[in-house]
């Protein structure tokens, strides 16, 4: 996207001059009619995107960053209304009727979304779906569209593209589906690409590949890219300019190098400072062992039966050993499907596993339900999803004290209340809110409730399964601080499961890197990060912390110029 391309970029013959913006938003406002009245999501913003430029729109959830672009594309939900101006090459497109809007949408402005798993129609083949914008906007015949679809799939790095045309979305991985989405969005050769959190749902190594692909394509075709993200690291590595949004307003805008290094706005500074910091010292070498597992194995059987033949056996956890000492935090990292969550659940016997598990020195796999229940009080778990893991029909007080009814049945109502107040204070929530229901709380507050539910039982071991992954960075930081404080106050041991290396680095003193059910590397946190031994660990770290240093995706082959689009 540097000046090297300006001489032969494919849109230089367009009538508009280089200085005129491709996309211009002026005083854009978006509101939603809700039963509680109108909610203002975007409150008058001004943005401009030029050719060959990447503009990152950064903000936390609820900042209005996505709705801004949804409004520009005429994709607002039915109760949404937009006003102001959205101009593409000087032409007003806000409020156009669908037929007129469709001359720009998909043709001149392409868009990709956050959810690669659901953004493709499951009922049609990849080839059919890529051909649609081609036949519609470029008026290609079926045969020519098919030919072009093969070229597009090659361009986005899908191997064996001619055969892949016949594949259905469910036959592709998340990363491949996002590549197909990019191919569809670029099919009609748009000069603006809006990417709404395109890599958030993907593993870090795949994320790095997708970012590299977008960068390569941009360099070839000179598109302007609007990159919507919550991830400041990504914005720093990928964008030329950054606009920081909060509560529907742009609080700061400027070159990425300035905004993200010497921010002017207080909010930007806060966002930047929200990246988790600090380290954790290991426990004393003679600290007692609280949880130990030797050669743990978990297998799942899928399908099978009298007529269907033998089942498919998946080895989710393969010969994994863990030793957790009092006061220790072990970070278990890995990408989706690595078996890290399965391991966490197997260790506290939420799912059955083969191998030796010892909890506080007692063999846990031989225990009957009764004795296991007594042990469970001391081993609690916090789940990833703060929205799904709290019962919507119970008050916060009931949720928190439910465990006490099982594990401390002798306590009366008042005693339970007292403990609930204490637990809420422990996690820095106002105890006066304990008679409210979960839906009245934010994601971060709910995660605090989930933690309070665990710590009220005075456990010694806490399994934290991606407790911060669904939260905004600034909220994440608070939860990290909270976990740190609780560990100090109560001498807790943590098993911290996460795909987020920066959080793991800040919280744990020991790290296990998992891939395909096996531990590929384990060791003290600082050693693993300083000198990763396994190639996979190096790949993970590079993808998470050094996007700019990774080479251009090898999966996107160099095409002869004649095949290329644009």
């Amino acid at each position: 996207m540097e000046a090297t391309l300006s001489s032969d970029h494919p849109f230089s013959d367009h009538p508009s001059s280089d200085n005129a913006p491709l996309l211009e938003l002026n005083d854009l406002r978006v509101g939603f009619d809700t039963p509680d009245g109108e909610v203002q999501a975007v409150r008058g913003i001004r943005l401009a995107l030029h050719a060959r430029e990447t503009l990152a729109v950064v903000g936390e959830s609820g900042s209005g960053k996505s709705q801004t672009m949804m409004a520009a594309m005429g994709l607002l939900a039915k109760n949404g209304r937009a006003s102001g101006s959205v101009r593409y090459r000087g032409r007003e497109i806000l409020g156009l009727k669908a037929a007129a809007l469709n001359e720009v949408r998909g043709a001149k402005i392409g868009m990709i979304f956050q959810e690669p798993m659901t953004s493709l129609d499951p009922l049609y083949t990849i080839g059919n779906q890529i051909a649609e914008p081609l036949t519609r906007h470029l008026r290609l015949s079926g045969r020519a569209a098919r030919q072009r679809a093969v070229e597009l799939l090659t361009l986005v790095g899908i191997p064996d593209p001619a055969r892949r045309l016949e594949a259905y979305p469910h036959e592709l991985s998340g990363g491949q589906r996002q590549r197909v989405m990019i191919a569809m969005a670029l099919a009609a050769e748009p000069d603006v690409l809006i990417a709404d959190e395109p890599t958030t749902a993907l593993d870090v190594t795949v994320q790095a590949q997708i970012i590299d692909l977008l960068r390569t394509l941009q360099q070839r075709f000179g598109m302007g890219i609007v990159f919507i993200t919550h991830d400041l690291g990504l914005a720093r590595h990928f964008a030329d300019r950054v606009a920081v949004m909060r509560h529907g307003l742009v609080v700061e805008e400027g070159p990425a190098s300035e905004v993200l290094t010497t921010p002017k706005a207080e909010y930007t500074r806060m966002l930047l400072a929200a990246e988790p910091t600090g380290t954790k010292a290991p426990p004393p070498a003679d600290a007692p062992i609280v949880l130990e597992a030797r050669r743990l194995n978990v297998t799942f059987r899928i399908g099978g039966g009298l007529l269907a033949g033998p089942p498919l056996v998946i080895h989710a956890v393969n010969n994994v050993s863990v030793t957790l000492r009092e006061g220790q935090t072990i970070g278990i990292v890995g990408e989706s499907g690595s078996g890290k969550s399965t391991l966490g659940r197997a260790l506290i016997r939420l799912i059955e596993a083969q191998g030796d598990i010892r909890l506080f020195g007692e063999p846990a796999n031989a225990l009957d339900t009764q004795s296991l229940r007594a042990l469970r009080r001391q081993v609690q778990i916090v789940f990833q999803d703060p929205f799904g893991s709290l019962s919507p029909r119970m008050t916060v007080g009931e949720i928190i004290t439910e465990g006490l009814r099982v594990h401390a049945p002798h306590l009366d109502r008042r005693a339970r209340e007292r403990l609930a107040v204490q637990a809420l204070e422990d996690v820095s929530l106002d105890p006066g809110l304990r008679n409210r229901y979960p839906h009245e709380f934010s994601g971060g507050q709910r995660q605090r409730i989930a933690i309070a539910r665990a710590v009220i039982l005075k456990p010694r071991v806490l399994v934290l399964d991606e407790p911060t992954s669904a939260l905004d960075r600034s909220v994440q930081k608070d939860i990290v601080e909270l976990l740190r404080r609780l560990q100090g106050e109560h001498g807790l041991s943590y098993l911290f499961i996460s795909h987020d290396l920066s959080v793991v680095r800040a919280l744990s003193d020991w790290i296990m890197v998992m891939r395909a059910g096996q531990v590929v590397e384990a060791g003290p946190t600082d050693e693993v990060f300083r000198a990763p031994a396994a190639a996979y660990t190096r790949e993970l770290i590079a993808a998470a912390f050094g996007l700019s240093d990774t080479p251009v995706a090898p999966a996107a082959p160099d095409l002869p110029r004649g095949v290329a689009l644009g």
């Binding site: 594309m73 005429g74 994709l75 039915k78 669908a98 037929a99 809007l101 469709n102 001359e103 720009v104 949408r105 998909g106 043709a107 392409g110 868009m111 979304f113 959810e115 659901t118 953004s119 493709l120 129609d121 499951p122 009922l123 049609y124 083949t125 649609e132 914008p133 519609r136 906007h137 259905y168 469910h170 989405m181 569809m184 969005a185 099919a187 009609a188 007529l307 269907a308």
Partner: protein, 307 residues
């Protein structure tokens, strides 16, 4: 796929056997018999009749006889309509019921789907409220109210159509029964389609299709509708089995010589063979249409595959 169909048809055999066996013995548990209601029947005559129909044989013997007959396509004689075999009755009545049922089904699927789609596209606006009101009315007003109302208005007052009768299958005779059968089905299909379409239009891939600038027609028909027909297909299978085997109320009110009436009449009269025949016919319809539903599913949704 062919192997799958074959396997399904083969597993239908034990299912049918089970149904036949269960119904056979359940029927015999019910008090009374085919000839116990006819007054003035002397014991000798009754015994004679029972001997003729082999009803005096031990139960297991009767059961085996029935099974052997069934295997040869022989459903036995009707006890209460002594001039006809059960097979004769179905040969004459089933085509009539099937004609009416199939017409009603097709009508319901077309009209119901269109109404449902319109309502979904205009959610929470006039058209939508109208369809929802119609659907509610259609499924709450019973057939035995609609049918006489139809006769009162269109036959007696306006004299456009005959009040009742089959008329050798003339079109004017069919309008009433078909409409009466179809109306509740239209209501159900419209409601199902509305819900499915609203759901489908919310999907992320619909947002993708809109972002690609595809025409509204393509977005609605190609991308939303295909997914939305799945619940309709699920419903249409059992509904077809029920409609094609006739309706007691409609056939009685309109004096239609179909098979719908046999089920109730035969059960009340303990006409064992006719009840058994009805059970077998309905079971076969249900099995066949459920298979068709599953095959249609695989046709619409590529994620469904049968080996």
């Amino acid at each position: 796929m062919a192997r799958y169909v074959l396997r399904r048809l083969l597993t239908a055999i034990p299912t049918l056997f089970l149904i036949v066996t269960l119904s056979f013995f359940l029927l015999r548990v019910a008090p009374g018999g085919p000839f116990s209601q006819e007054h003035g029947l002397s014991p000798e005559v009754k015994a004679n009749l029972e001997r003729v129909y082999q009803l005096d044989a031990p139960l297991w013997r009767q059961y085996l006889n029935y099974l052997v007959g069934l295997l040869h396509g022989d459903f036995g004689p009707s006890y209460n309509l002594p001039d006809f075999t059960v097979a004769d009755l179905f040969r004459v009545g089933l085509p009539v019921s099937m004609q009416l049922g199939a017409s009603a089904l097709v009508l319901a699927l077309i009209i119901g789907s269109i109404l449902g789609i319109l309502a979904a596209l205009r959610q929470n606006r006039g058209v939508d409220y109208g369809v929802v009101a119609l659907a509610t009315a259609g499924s709450t007003i019973p057939t035995f109210v609609i049918a006489p109302l139809y006769q009162l208005v269109f036959a007696l007052t306006l004299a456009w159509v005959p009040v009742a009768g089959w008329g050798g299958g003339a079109l004017v005779n069919k309008i009433g029964p078909v409409l009466t059968l179809a109306l509740p089905q239209i209501a159900i299909v419209a409601r199902l389609m509305r819900g499915a379409m609203i759901e489908a239009l919310r999907a992320n891939h619909i947002r993708t299709a809109r972002a690609l600038g595809l025409s509204s027609f393509s977005v609605v028909v190609k991308h939303a509708l295909r997914g939305a027909v799945l619940p309709i297909i699920s419903y249409a299978g059992p509904a077809a089995a029920a409609l094609l085997t006739g309706s007691v109320v409609v056939e009685t009110v309109f004096a239609i010589p179909g098979v719908g009436r046999y089920f109730v009449d035969a059960a009340l009269n303990r006409d064992y063979t006719l009840v058994m025949g009805t059970v077998v016919v309905i079971a076969v319809f249900v099995i066949v249409f459920n298979l068709l539903v599953d095959l249609a599913y695989a046709l619409v949704d590529p994620r469904v595959r049968y080996e």
